[in-house]
């Protein structure tokens, strides 16, 4: 019994590492019939619970080092070589801190908010395809599931802000909800283009649809089409806002609101909020990878021998790095700028992108010479023209001149 289990476990790890189909079968066969469904579920959940918080720890290090580099300083360098053990030190610090709850706070809701935030954020990882055979659940409506659990995090931010009985908390929560509602629309509309072209809500089918290479060189990822590129850019901007990252970090703007809905949280509850925020960012990056960057597919045909999960996590970490880079580069928006950008620019562009995706779908039937070129030019022009005019129109015909730096040169 023990030997069989051990063999099954080793075989399972080997199959996961080499991305073979049905890695759990041998391990489950050694178990009694009744225990199998439960153990199968635990075997799917455990890696998600281990890998993504681990990635969170690594990302805090990467973020602090990256921001330090951008701001011309060293970043953490005291704990371990190159400050590698800084996340562990931070975690211990959070654990040992006193948990302070304001006297007037609504204790139950105040306690529940971080938990209610973390659970849906973790659920979102259940539908992402990490490799050819590494899919926790292949839901028929996978994308709907992802957005449904993402939408239920808004209520928990409200719970945190309201239960704290603090004006900064409440203002921060209201800002966060207004921002999340506004940016959810371009986020979902830009993903709808992918659904239209792939013809499925299942993320596995969407990755399947991006298989193959043109001329044996250029992968069929959606980001390499005009509508896909526009959709990808809209998606990334909207997911920056959804995960409350700079330049959209108004809900937690330190200089205005202390820390928004996090103001009255301390100790490990604060750490849970922090964790949920980063996990939400990873989930968004994972969805962007799946929808637009070909998911676990390799960028070149001869690289397909490398297991898919390496490509998936490579693309995910690249996107996370992009987020860190943007945070170090772009200043924070004002509230009116934020909402204007969402409703006057992103929403029209996302709606236009839907039409372009439809045209792209129907022009796929063209078969005269140089049809591909004309199809490309038509779709790219339909996006670039309105982008230019809308952008110019919204800046109010302000003259754009070169900026003179008095002190920074």
């Amino acid at each position: 019994m023990i030997g069989e289990l051990f063999n099954g476990l080793m075989l399972m790890i080997w199959k996961v590492l080499t991305d073979q189909p049905d890695p759990k079968a041998d391990f489950l066969a050694a178990l009694p019939e009744r225990a199998r469904p439960l153990v199968a579920a635990i075997l799917s959940i455990t890696p998600i619970l281990m890998i993504f918080p681990g990635l969170f720890a690594a990302t805090t290090w990467l973020e602090r080092k990256g921001l330090g580099r951008i701001q011309n300083r060293l970043g953490p360098n005291r704990v371990g070589p190159f400050g590698w053990f800084q996340p562990i030190a931070d975690g211990l610090k959070m654990l040992t801190k006193e948990d302070i709850v304001p006297r007037n706070a609504d204790k139950v809701v105040h306690f529940l908010a971080p938990v209610v935030l973390l659970v849906p954020t973790l659920l979102a990882f259940a539908v992402l395809p990490y490799g050819r055979n590494l899919v926790p659940i292949n839901l028929d409506a996978g994308m709907l599931f992802f957005f449904a659990v993402g939408a239920s995090t808004e209520l928990s931010i409200f719970m945190a802000g309201w239960a704290s009985r603090n004006k900064y908390s409440l203002l921060g929560a209201m800002r966060a909800i207004a921002q999340m509602i506004s940016y959810e629309i371009p986020l979902i509309l830009s993903s709808v283009t992918v659904i239209m072209i792939a013809g499925s809500l299942s993320l596995v089918a969407i990755v399947q649809h991006q298989a193959g290479y043109t001329f044996g060189l250029v992968p069929h990822w959606y980001v390499l089409t005009p509508w896909g590129f526009a959709g990808f850019v809209i998606f990334i901007i909207a997911s920056l806002a959804e995960s409350n990252r700079s330049p959209f970090d108004l809900p937690e703007a330190e200089s205005e609101l202390i820390a928004g809905h996090l103001t009255e949280y301390s100790g490990f509850k604060y750490a849970l909020f922090f964790l949920a925020e980063y996990l939400g960012m990873f989930a968004m990056c994972g969805l962007a990878t799946t929808l637009f960057l070909g998911g676990w597919r390799a960028p070149l045909p001869f690289l397909e021998i490398v297991p898919g999960y390496i490509w998936f996590f490579g693309k995910l970490i690249l996107l996370v790095f992009l987020f860190i880079w943007i945070r170090g580069t772009v200043p924070r928006l004002r509230v009116d700028q934020l909402l204007n950008l969402a409703w006057k620019f992103m929403l029209p562009m996302a709606l236009l992108n839907l039409i372009v995706a439809a045209i792209w779908h129907y022009t796929g039937a063209w078969d005269f010479p140089s049809a591909l070129l004309w199809r490309w030019l038509l779709c790219a022009g339909m996006i670039a023209g309105p982008y230019y005019w809308l952008g110019r129109g919204l800046t109010g015909r302000a003259k754009l001149v070169k900026r003179n730096y008095r002190f920074a040169d």
Binding site: V109, D140, A141, F147, S152, L155, I181
Partner: protein
């Protein structure tokens, strides 16, 4: 299966009762969101994944947030304590029973529950997202369009109400919002709530 049903049913009923009877309006709204989640769990248990997740997306993601915003923007502080049972509870129960009766009659007399149709189907049909989309775009396209038109009309109406107010008061933009939050209007009806929400969004 029975145990899961019992747990979900108990959760939904208890949170629905709590949503009616708690004193704090925000607690009521949160309990209502829990009741919505229980309904979504019912749909999922019945194998209707699309309906279940759409319920979560629309009701917990949007309707609960709208209710919470309406409560925050239309009430100042705690308000005067009122008895939990409203004076017209008898009429309320009568209307509830009437509505339940009409709905039950409609469901019982629909073609879905008649025996002939059930016998024709050898097993429970498994509705896929693809089939639902297909039906919505072919057979039910007209009702879908009408619902879309209705929602657009409602959105335009809300925008018009919000615009009128911005013209009357001298303040516009974020300052106007701030003053309105300090002196919230006492009316509690739905149109003012939606208009407040619209203003926050715009």
């Amino acid at each position: 299966m029975q145990i899961a049903f019992a747990i979900i049913a108990a959760l939904t009923l208890v949170s629905a009762i709590a949503a009616m009877s708690l004193r704090n309006l925000v607690h009521c709204a949160l309990c209502l969101a829990l009741a919505f989640a229980g309904l979504a769990a019912f749909y999922l248990q019945l194998g209707a994944a699309f309906a279940g997740w759409a319920q979560v997306l629309v009701y917990i993601g949007a309707v609960a947030i709208l209710i919470v915003f309406a409560i925050l923007l239309t009430r100042s502080g705690e308000g005067t304590p009122q008895p939990i049972l409203s004076r017209s509870w008898g009429v309320g129960i009568a209307i509830a029973v009437l509505v339940f009766g009409v709905l039950a009659k409609a469901i019982m007399s629909s073609s879905l529950t008649s025996n002939s149709l059930l016998q024709k189907m050898p097993s429970k049909p498994e509705p896929t997202v693809h089939q639902i989309g297909d039906q919505l775009m072919t057979r039910y396209v007209l009702p879908l369009e009408i619902i879309g038109l209705l929602l657009t009309a409602a959105a335009i109406g809300a925008v018009i109400i919000a615009m009128k107010d911005a013209g009357k008061g001298q303040l516009t933009g974020p300052r106007a919002k701030a003053t309105q939050m300090e002196i919230p209007p006492q009316s509690n009806n739905a149109s003012s709530a939606s208009h407040e929400l619209e203003e926050v969004r715009s």
